[in-house]
Amino acid sequence: MKNNSLENIFIENITKHQGIIHKVCNIYCTNHENKTDLMQEITLQLWKSYPGFQGKSKFSTWMYRIALNTAISNVRKTNKMPLMEALFESQIEIPEKENLSEDDEDVNRLYKAIGKLKVVDKGIILLYLEDKSYKEIAEIIGISEKNVAVKMHRLKKKLEQLILSERAS
């Protein structure tokens, strides 16, 4: 009975904040299969860690922490048939590109640019774009606020350059 109500509260909270799961999956996975796996794994890890959530931090901060921990340190990299995957991706990319609006192209370029960042840097930039404070980013990643500030200064420049090179290509 108690477990049932815990599950219901969990479902309600996760459904409300599901955007976090989608965003983390979008920046860490390039193909559909990996995205589905990561989404499932994040949901499972959130459920396992939920009893330990004491409300000391915001629910969204806790969710980002678990989701990023799962994406970075807990998911096995599966490279199933990379060649076939690449072929499949290129097949679906061409018609998509023709129908893309300017906005959609910008979004694609942004995702591609973030995809070129190092594994932890992706998480830091995601949190920054999500308007998390330096304090929250530091808490989630486990580095100092000062470190986040230094890192962000460099990351912003790097992301701008990557987007420019995406635009040029």
Binding site: N69, T70, I72, V75, K118, V119, N147
Partner: protein
């Protein structure tokens, strides 16, 4: 023009598209929380449990054989000592599974998680793989004993050869288990080195800032000293 403001605007557009995605509903969550984990930790746990199974199998086989070799004192002593060692290793693996589960449930930052997992991987997990390799090699010994236990006359004619064979068995299986897990370690250390680079960046930034401050203070003092000397000469 590609300022960070426009990047933020693009991100908001992407976020508004995401907000329309309602894949994670109650049916999805209920299904996801009952599926098996595909995480690195789950794989490590499976490997440790496989080792526990092999050790348990060894213990059963050795205990079973002990009855047939009561009269053969050297072999009985070998069985008894092996049993003791196998039990110790089994207890060790049980402790490691609990340790790994505890790491998973701790509410830690990314940095702490990575450090904890790498430490576990390099120490406890490596030891667990060694225990598993040891258990695998001992299966062959247990099989030999079982094959010849009818008359309780298992004799070792060439001890150095036997030891060499088992050591080779152990080395082979240990390398095999280690190789199969090395990809996880690489993934974890890559993430950690990225984080450590962030910390080094901060240190370099701090050092550069301190250097600039020291130069500024040095220059200011020199200018003040020079000004003082000039004023002294003018005054005199």
């Amino acid at each position: 023009m590609n300022s960070f403001k426009s990047i933020k605007n693009t991100w908001e557009k992407a976020s508004s598209e995401i907000s329309d995605d309602k894949t994670v509903d109650s049916t999805y969550i209920k299904k996801a929380i009952t599926t098996d984990s595909k995480s690195i930790s789950a794989s490590m746990l499976i490997n440790i449990r496989a080792g526990m199974f092999l050790l348990a199998l060894d213990i059963v086989l050795f205990a079973y054989n002990a009855f047939f070799y009561t009269a053969n004192i050297p072999v009985f002593t070998a069985i008894f000592l092996s049993l003791l060692l196998l039990i110790v290793l089994l207890v060790y693996l049980i402790i490691q599974t609990r340790k790994l589960t505890a790491i998973e449930l701790r509410n830690m930052s990314l940095f702490e998680t990575l450090v904890c997992k790498i430490e576990f991987f390099k120490t406890s997990y490596t030891m667990s793989l060694r225990a598993t390799a040891f258990a695998t090699a001992f299966i062959a010994f247990a099989a030999n004993l079982t094959q010849q236990n009818a008359n309780g006359e298992f004799n070792i004619s060439n001890i150095p050869l036997l030891i060499t064979i088992y050591v080779l068995f152990y080395v082979f299986f240990n390398s095999l288990y280690k190789l199969s897990s090395s990809i996880y370690l690489k993934q974890l250390t890559n993430a950690l080195s990225n984080l450590e680079q962030n910390i080094l960046d901060e240190m370099e930034h701090e050092m550069a800032k301190n250097r600039k401050t020291r130069i500024f203070i040095g220059l200011s003092m020199s200018v003040m000293l020079l000004a003082g000397i000039v004023m002294y000469f003018i005054a005199s």
